[in-house]
Subunit: 366 residues, 2 copies
Amino acid sequence: MKLICQGADLSEAVLKVVKACAGKTTVPVLECIKLSAKNDILSLLATDTEISIEKVIKADVLEEGELCIPGRYFSDFINKISDVEITLTTSSRGLEIQYGEALSTMQVLPADDFPVIDVSISENSFSMSQKAFRELIAKSVFCCATDDSRPILKGCLFEVGKEEVVATALDGYRMAVCRQDILSTTKEERIILPARTLSEINKMIGGEDDELRIFLQKGMMMVEVDDTIMTSRLYTGEFVNREAIMPKTFTTVVKVKRDELEESIERAAILVRSDKNSLIIFDIKENAIGISSNSDIGGVSEVIRANIEGPDLKIAMNSKYILECVKAVGEDIVEMEFNSSVAPFVVHGEEREKSSYLILPVRANS
Amino acid sequence: MKLICQGADLSEAVLKVVKACAGKTTVPVLECIKLSAKNDILSLLATDTEISIEKVIKADVLEEGELCIPGRYFSDFINKISDVEITLTTSSRGLEIQYGEALSTMQVLPADDFPVIDVSISENSFSMSQKAFRELIAKSVFCCATDDSRPILKGCLFEVGKEEVVATALDGYRMAVCRQDILSTTKEERIILPARTLSEINKMIGGEDDELRIFLQKGMMMVEVDDTIMTSRLYTGEFVNREAIMPKTFTTVVKVKRDELEESIERAAILVRSDKNSLIIFDIKENAIGISSNSDIGGVSEVIRANIEGPDLKIAMNSKYILECVKAVGEDIVEMEFNSSVAPFVVHGEEREKSSYLILPVRANS
């Protein structure tokens, strides 16, 4: 392989694909970026076997070839020579990197060791505006599980219908169900996308009204944004039936100003932050919510005005879960719907359809 | 104790003094802020026994008194109610914090348990512009030791003369010797200030031309900036004699553009960053410096133009130490002075007096 390219192009491409490199692993080639030079194109490809990212740049290819190079070292190094022309040449010592008057070398691994990545994923697809995708992710993915006790919960269920997509994420303590309009779909789908994949797509897009098309085929997905192609495995397995666990009727319904609720929970959370359950208590009665917490450090006791329909209720919960969900609602007014002090309750904004959160209460001893 | 104060005042004061609270400790009172209310003044004081920070604010004191309250909890909590009037009252349940319609409580410890801090430190003093102090710290403190193998090296020696102060910091591998003018001094001093103390003073000052006066008495120092008083223990013990270890004559003298040198070292450092010594080699000859590094990952080999006087020299060093010192010099041209490949060498800018760095080479096996 021998080619000449612009440092700025190479640097930008390397920074994009290196995100798919595996961290510390026992398979060194997964920490590498695969370089392929052919037809005046240099392709850069990285994968950790769950996701892959590929980007091509223009290059003056004097000799075709391919190889694998340690991803993070190469990325950091190229980033420091982004303002000059770079010549890459394979030699017996590895990859020679020539820039200005300097000549550096990096060890390489054979391209044959690199996993085969099939980017021809095109059988089905659906599309939505980048803005709608960004909002869907912001409101759902934080509820995905982060531990490995039930790996499938590290993914987010996308139910793609004719006009909208419903995203469901849960971690065993709370569940998000969010909806956004889609622009088009080739057929209805039910797929589980890894939370990490969704976050990486989020970083690739700009959030404008541009279209984002997600292609699907044989348990894989693919998106292409600005000449960068990302693929990802989909998760397979039984996902929770959201309809079955989301309650439909409620006895006590509370409407409250979001900023007041959020600030009050934040204060109550401070004094219980070292406790395992970070427990706070809502005492709902007489058109107000009493918000309290208690620990060895002290106790908070606040009252905020609220509009309440139905019987009084006292319910305990993990302050972290309720706070994240209230913040995600984002609207001026938050609605909370309860059935009893031991039944899951629901938090949503004015449009219940757009994003609803189901939260499990904690049985308080007091 | 009972008092009324403004949330904004209390919040600002708490954020300043909490920096002196100890982290996790076996002496809970050191994690506390001591509150003392007297004569329409609320004083907040924290100490980890090395440094202390005190700030007073105006308050409507209805009942005098003092107590200790968990510093970080109190700080985070007050920070969330900075826009309202706050009433603090001691009760049998601890400290009652009233704000708006809310009433929260925090556990307290008796004020008697808090260490006695003597802030009447005034016997001697010297002063310099805040800007000069800021520059002195930026150029020297990074060379202080960070481990506890020789605790005194976690401090920085200040030699206060009639017209200037000389700061010396070293960690066993490199030494900084920096000078700045002073505005006045009551007498010549030789004190060792903890690096942490210097960094905290740095955060208190603005960097303008205002005067910073450092008071000294009985092994302690004190500064006062904007109604915030900070005291610190001084270190005592034998400090290195900088004159004795700083070489005075050199055989090979190199002048080089700082940005070229810095960038080249940065690139060479990337490929050896996982190695214990992060070794890079300077090959000084023919009006150029060959900068190279080698590891399992690969090798860098660059040449930068330089003005050289004296014999050729090849010398190996830790890339982290040379890079930090070259960056600290900051000027357009860096001068490096060598005697041999095993002798310490010196790095400085155009004004050698302002800041000089002594660096130990590494014996390379190759």
